[in-house]
């Protein structure tokens, strides 16, 4: 009998306890399923805090996709392709030359890079020609400096060639 009365009291108490959290405003209410993306280059802003669905970035720690309400993060970017899935499912792809991406707590993301162009702006022939050129320098007997630079160029070019295919 005693325990029954206790249960009834708990039943009565519960609705009030449930109501309280619902009135609280959370990040999810403020930014529903969208990331505000800013993709900026020193000479141009491709996106300026535009709401997008998903952003796939080539982070140095591995490729990752960022959705709304992602945990805050700072990632160094490899030279590689970034994919932005816009409203309605259409996706745009850019090749960035390396930089940083920061994800802030309230679904705000900014990507900074030195150079970035849509994939269709690249010429596969120019990439191929540069690869042979860079390979020659990388395997040649140049200074340590020249070899290192050629290796960086090769890394960028191979990544570019892979996404252009």
């Amino acid at each position: 009998m005693n325990s029954l009365r206790f249960a009834r009291a708990a039943l009565r108490a519960r609705p009030a306890a449930f109501r309280a959290p619902l009135q609280r405003r959370t990040y999810a209410d403020a930014a529903p399923d969208k990331i505000k993306l800013t993709l900026a280059l020193p000479h141009q802003a491709i996106y300026t805090s535009q709401g997008v669905v998903q952003v796939n970035i080539p982070a140095e720690s591995g490729d990752m996709g960022v959705l709304a309400n992602h945990v805050p993060a700072i990632e160094q970017l490899k030279p590689g392709m970034i994919e932005v899935v816009e409203d309605g499912g259409a996706s745009k792809r850019f090749f960035l030359s390396g930089g940083f991406a920061t994800v802030q707590p309230n679904s705000v993301m900014s990507v900074n890079a030195v150079e970035g162009y849509p994939l269709e702006d690249f010429s596969a022939d120019a990439v191929r020609a540069q690869i042979t050129e860079a390979q020659k320098v990388a395997n040649g007997g140049g200074s340590e400096q020249d070899v290192a630079e050629a290796k960086i160029e090769l890394e960028v070019l191979e990544s570019l060639q892979a996404v252009l295919k």
Partner: protein, 76 residues
């Protein structure tokens, strides 16, 4: 994690500049000509000591020789 460019004595700035240069060169002809102008840097500097201007140097040349000496010390 040790980056390849770091062990070669390059700075991150230099690494980005090389990567960007390659990206610019890979563009289609019309875009490339506009973009490549951004890669040109032209800056000279001089160190002043005791109120006298020292030797005026090109920044790019000074950077290259500075990094070459760093590469030597880091590999030993």
């Amino acid at each position: 994690m040790v980056f390849a460019w770091k062990s070669a004595g390059l700075s991150y700035n230099r690494y980005l500049a090389i990567a960007s240069r390659v990206v610019r060169r890979s563009l289609k002809e019309d875009k490339r000509i506009i973009a490549e102008r951004r890669g040109e840097t032209d800056l000279r500097f001089a160190k002043w000591s005791n109120g006298k201007m020292g030797e005026s140097k090109n920044l790019v040349d000074a950077n290259t020789s500075g990094m070459a000496s760093q590469a030597g010390s880091s590999s030993s």
